[in-house]
């Protein structure tokens, strides 16, 4: 009896302690970044161009670049990813081929992002001749996101009970209509959560855009998809390691990091809200 209590106490301490350590580290990182970044954060910082060799001014083009880039990534990866997941979960017969396909997709999710960058360079920039551009970079990030979107969408579809599909089919509704009108609406919150979390990860990537279109600095903002662009993660990388006046721009680097984290937080909160709203519904 006594022994069991000690074991219980001990495991509680270990588990609770580990959690505490993780939270502590997270807290320290956030505190470090925000406390050093907040002094330089201002409306001017997020709404103006960098000036004086990036030692002053803001990060507007990097924010816009990241938003546009994520938009292209979404346009490419969401329709294809969701369609692929629907095919795998609703239409494909479970045989060796589909299992191989599924395993490959899961493995793709583990490929390092720099490899996607090189692949994007070879395929989009060179072979397809899109050049180093926001289009090439967006498509590369789209490729990186696809396996996550397929996997999370398939999980969301799997959670829909078969009894619901049978309910519609038994009324003489076709399989396509059943998926469109019953399965997808019910799976939508789960799909959206996966999509948003995937995109928030893609928005913070540096390696895949490094060779495919991101630039140190651009003069003006252009909506054209064949232009190079600035992006938050790369801007941060550049400010913190590549700049000549590294000490002088350090506060700007921290402020940029704060903006990037806030952006990703925002996406995560949206995902959390979507999931929460769905849970309270049923």
């Amino acid at each position: 009896m006594e022994k069991k209590r000690i074991i219980g106490l001990f495991s509680g301490l270990v588990l609770g302690g580990s959690t505490l350590i993780v939270v502590l580290f997270l807290g320290i990182i956030l505190w470090d970044i925000f406390s050093k970044g907040f002094p330089s954060l201002s409306w001017n910082f997020v709404s103006s161009f960098p000036t004086n060799g990036m030692t002053q001014g803001g990060i507007l083009p990097a924010i816009i670049g990241t938003v546009l880039l994520t938009f292209i990534t979404t346009l490419f990866s969401v329709p294809f990813g969701v369609a692929c997941a629907i095919y795998l979960n609703e239409y494909a017969r479970p045989n060796t081929l589909t299992n191989v396909i599924r395993a490959s997709i899961r493995n793709l999710a583990g490929v390092p992002s720099i490899i996607y960058g090189l692949f994007g360079l070879a395929l989009f920039v060179q072979a397809l001749n899109f050049g180093t551009s926001i289009l090439s970079a967006g498509l590369t990030l789209g490729l990186l996101s696809l396996p996550y979107i397929i996997t999370t969408t398939e999980e969301a579809l799997k959670r829909i009970p078969n009894s619901l599909r049978e309910a519609a089919l038994a009324l003489g509704v076709t399989q396509f209509e059943t998926i469109k009108d019953v399965v997808l609406p019910k799976a939508l919150p789960g799909i959206l959560t996966g999509v948003i979390l995937t995109l928030s990860r893609a928005a913070g990537e540096t390696a895949p855009i490094l060779f495919t279109g991101v630039a140190f600095f651009i003069n003006g903002i252009s909506a054209s998809p064949n232009q190079e662009f600035m992006a938050l993660p790369y801007h941060l990388y550049m400010l913190s390691t590549q700049h000549n006046e590294i000490e002088q721009v350090r506060p700007l680097a921290y402020a940029t990091a704060s903006v990037l984290i806030l952006l990703v937080f925002l996406l995560n909160i949206i995902a959390f809200y979507v999931r929460f709203k769905n849970r309270t519904q049923d």
């Binding site: 017969r93 479970p94 009970p161 009894s163 619901l164 599909r165 049978e166 309910a167 519609a168 089919l169 038994a170 009324l171 003489g172 509704v173 076709t174 209509e177 009108d181 019953v182 609406p185 019910k186 519904q281 049923d282």
Partner: protein, 251 residues
């Protein structure tokens, strides 16, 4: 064939290597209630689901033999499965309302099958009245159907089937998840529905089978053992297995 609505001829069904239904020959009379009884796993649901082709979705299901609705070959190559399912409706063991409002649960299939827009509200009201649900839901048609009680959900599922005016309604243990009062309501409903529809119902409740059915089929290990009027099966069955099952000696 007069008076026979639905029938199976030499029906064999396999899941992979395993034979689930063994040479079933059965005919269901029009406008009557037929109960399928038998111990768990004997193939009652499997038999029922072969009539509205629910096995089409299972890749490892294989069917031999012939099934007919009147003279329509249910597995005939040219016959549309959606038409067949519209003519042979099904109510499931667990209530499975669509994740839509009460109204949309009924209007959905009507829209899919292109019923004239202006007729739909009346059809829905009639089906809900027929299913003894109208008074309980008439003021909250926009409410999500999942918010109804289990018994109300099941009556909604019946209404959803009835509104399409099928010729046959298959019911797989429709009362097994319900309390006695909801069960009673559904039994009354079944007795009324048989005036318009042919009903085949799977049940584990012997009293229920006695109360509602005209004919009863007893199945055992994938075979049809005895098929006769409700009176014969329950009062003086011919087969020893049937006797023992009715008497409650095995389950």
């Amino acid at each position: 064939m007069d008076g026979i609505k639905l029938r199976a001829e030499n029906l064999n069904l396999y899941f992979g290597q395993k034979q689930i239904l063994k040479n079933i020959n059965i005919e269901f009379p029009k406008n009557q209630v037929t109960s399928l009884i038998g111990p768990s796993g004997c193939g009652k649901s499997t038999l029922l689901r072969s009539f509205n082709r629910m096995h089409d979705l299972s890749p490892d299901a294989r069917i031999e033999g012939k099934l007919f609705l009147d003279e329509l070959d249910l597995y005939g190559r040219k016959n549309s499965v959606t038409d067949i399912r519209k003519r042979i409706g099904m109510v499931f063991q667990k209530p499975n309302p669509l994740p839509k409002s009460i109204y949309e649960n009924l209007s959905y299939a009507l829209n899919i099958h292109n019923y004239p827009k202006q007729d739909i509200p009346n059809l829905i009201e009639a089906a809900l009245r027929e299913s003894f649900l109208w008074d309980e839901v008439k003021d909250e048609m926009k409410k999500p159907a999942v918010k109804l009680s289990g018994g109300q959900q099941q009556r909604l599922c019946i209404a959803r089937t009835v509104v399409l005016r099928p010729e046959v309604i298959l019911m797989d243990e429709p009362c097994s998840a319900l309390d006695p009062i909801s069960t009673k309501k559904i039994e009354e409903l079944i007795l009324k529905l048989k005036e318009d529809f042919t009903i085949v119902i799977v049940t584990h409740n012997m009293q229920q089978a006695q109360r509602i059915s005209n004919k009863v089929a007893f199945m055992y290990l994938g075979e049809l053992i005895e098929y006769d009027t409700s009176d014969t099966i329950f009062k003086h069955p011919n087969n020893e297995l049937t006797q023992r099952y009715i008497g409650g000696y095995f389950g």
